[in-house]
Amino acid sequence: MRWPAGWRDPSRLELLEGTPINCLLLAAEGEQLQAIREQAGKRGLTCLTVVGSDAPAASPQIRIHPRSTLDWRTADPVLAVSECVWPAVAGGSGGAQAGPTGVPWVDSNGWFVQLARTLRPRQVLWLVFEPPEKVLLRPEAYALAVADCETYGGRWVIALDAVAESDPARARGLLAAAGRAVRFFMQHARWRTFVPHAAVGILSDFSGANRDPSYELLNLLARRPLPFRILENARGAALPLEGLKAVIYADQQPPEAPLRERLLAFARAGGLLVTGPQWGAREGAPAPGDVYERFTVWRTGKGRLAIAKEELSDPYLAALDVHLLLGHEHDLLRLWNGGSLNVYYTSSPAAGRSGLLQLVNYTTRRAAHPVTVGLAQPYKKARFWDLGADSPRPLEIQAAARGIELPLPEFSVYAAIELEEEA
């Protein structure tokens, strides 16, 4: 938790009682907070002093890296990143804005957590962001802030709003809500070991001029829902493309020869490779293009190579186009009445695979009509977890024209569905 700068009285530590909060980030060294440090230590809490990203690493300090200048090579065991967004439906709870998909935009950090866990899998990821000013959020919004990070394997450094800093009762309520959510995810820590299902691979070096477009592409793909796998082009010929139906190569530079050959081999084997005009030389025979005529498509082997006529500079269109080019035949999941949700679909890496679907609701309110999930995989058993629940509820599985459908109970912030292939 980010300890409020105005809290100098150690008695405020009592507000943390009953919560799983075990670490405090303090803004400054020195005498002023010494009493807090001493009392926190007696309560078993770790205190870390926040320093800038360019400060030398030292204990008990923590460096916070602004996302816009983050150097992924940093070796900090805890990768703490600022410049994250407060998760919510864009425009606030009272003024949802519709996006071009007809569903509201949402602000989420989920895609960034996925990226960080791919690029720095051995580091613990903390996201540092504060509640928006001049808005008095409900406790559910704090649970959402936790869920938006934890679902994907990150952790929110809990922070209070200005009103709560001066209102202990409000602070207690907000900390309790956030704490309950944190405890739920701690109880399900094994879910962090699950690996993402994916139909589409997003390939980039995620740096330099490619950083912003690739980040935004991840952000927008997360809204489709089109489960994706993040691919580092540094891995070249060793890219993990198994199970993917499509790969987007959107970097501004053409790929190195081994990577290029790997991607072409993927297409020849039946995959769809989506790229921009920087790809250069094409191969194969002309094939039917996309309905919006933004690509020339070539049939190569059993698959297709789709080359954008103009640069893939609009991440929204790129996310839309890959789904259009791929077609809905390959949808791993479908959502009905899920416009305010982001979904993270993973499975256990162990033998006898089980699936896990986590749904984050950015309105923090129950929808007018409950959500139905469709899955291509014909699971035999499903269990529903509401955020904070001690035990799951069995879910009815309905056979559908394509795969199965799961009618979900109502939920306001977060739900998880455990899926088993065996009844």
Partner: protein, 373 residues
């Protein structure tokens, strides 16, 4: 560009008032009970078509275009109810109809719809609802799908003048698939509607209009290449169609959906007559046309309705829903709108007078399912 009617269009316009002075035609309507979307469906529809004189004489050797009723985004459901059991016509009704048309000798069957704000192929739209378009394609020999919300691979929009000159627009520009067919089928859902009181075979034709011309995002200077947005233009009249398509006759007329939309629907059915109207009232929703309407609820009338005249068929369906098909504005279901059926009657399409319509099969009195209690 000013719209200059062709000689043929002018003749159609001049001929219409004469037709409108005669009593609007009446045609038989078949009604059947059908408890579900299982095996009983094909038998029920086949019996109804036989009661109407048989499909063979209507479709043998011909190209049949079917306007499907797939309103709104495929990602919305009323609670957990699949779209085909709520706001969309059920896929099994489509499949059964296609099968029977094929069996009756239809040469080519085209499934048409203008899906919400997209140029995606219609099959892709159906997949998002968890439908299996491949199964529909196999229901007869030559089945095609067409997204008519934009021109697609067609070369030019087809112009459809409104006989009598129309109420709001004198003519409409539509995808040529609506012209290049011998038989036009409106395959609709039995529903209420927030703007027009009911959604039946007539209101289904609202969706034959391309949003490249009549959409909120259509360019001012000519048809767009791709559809953007809905048809707020028809509801509120805040702008004119894309240049080159006939503008409104009177931009000073009321800008109210309850006035405009029923007139536009009647015009469309007059301009592109329905040869066969089929209404899926097996499972549906009451209180509105989609889950975005507050207070909608599931309802299972267990009914199918079919006829060769859209006004007559809708009149019987309105009666089956527990309403008077000749009701004036202010009386449910036309509480806040003019009665599309009466407007269609005035255009000479057909009569909503139940006293003039022969009902074959199940009698109305035996099958009424009140949408409002």
């Amino acid at each position: 560009m000013r719209w200059e009617p062709t000689r043929r269009q002018m003749l159609a316009v001049l001929a219409a008032p004469v037709a409108a002075q005669r009593p609007a035609p009446a045609a038989p309507v078949a009604v059947a009970r059908c408890a579900g979307y299982g095996a009983e469906l094909v038998a029920a529809l086949e019996r109804m078509f036989d009661q109407l004189g048989g499909l063979t004489r209507l479709v043998k050797g011909k190209t049949v275009a079917i306007k499907l009723n797939l309103t709104g985004s495929p990602s919305y459901r009323m609670a957990h109810r699949p779209l085909g059991s709520a706001q969309w016509v059920h896929p099994h009704v489509i499949g059964a109809t296609v099968h029977l048309l094929g069996k009756a000798g239809a040469r080519r069957i085209r499934l048409l719809e203008s899906p919400w704000s997209t140029a995606e192929p219609l099959e892709q739209y159906m997949l998002q609802a968890n439908w299996d378009p491949a199964a529909l394609a196999k229901a007869a020999a030559q089945v095609e799908f067409e997204n008519t919300n934009y021109l697609g691979k067609a070369k030019q929009y087809a112009r459809f003048p409104v006989p009598g000159g129309g109420y709001i627009y004198p003519a409409y520009d539509l995808h040529p698939a609506y012209r290049d067919c011998d038989v036009f089928v409106s395959l609709a859902k039995m529903k209420e509607h927030g703007t027009t009181g009911v959604t039946l075979s007539m209101k289904n034709c609202f969706g034959i209009t391309p949003c490249t011309i009549y959409g909120d995002g259509a360019p001012e200077d000519g048809p767009g290449r791709f559809p953007v947005g809905g048809r707020g233009m028809f509801h509120y009249g805040r702008r004119q169609p894309a240049k080159g398509s006939p503008p409104e006759k009177d931009p000073a007329s009321p800008r109210e959906g309850g006035y405009r939309v029923p007139r536009i629907v009647a015009e469309l059915v007059a301009a592109r007559p329905v040869d066969l109207a089929i209404i899926d009232g097996v499972e549906s929703m009451a209180g509105g046309e989609g889950p975005w309407i507050r207070g909608v609820r599931p309802i299972n009338p267990g009914l199918l309705v079919a006829g060769t005249n859209a006004v007559c068929t809708d009149a019987v369906a309105v009666a089956l829903m527990g309403y008077d098909p000749t009701a004036q504005r202010g009386t449910p279901p036309f509480t806040n709108c003019d009665n599309t059926l009466r407007l269609g009657e005035a255009l000479g399409i057909g009569t909503p007078d139940l006293g003039r319509i022969e009902v074959r099969g199940t009698r109305i009195a035996e099958a009424v399912c009140r949408f409002r209690t």
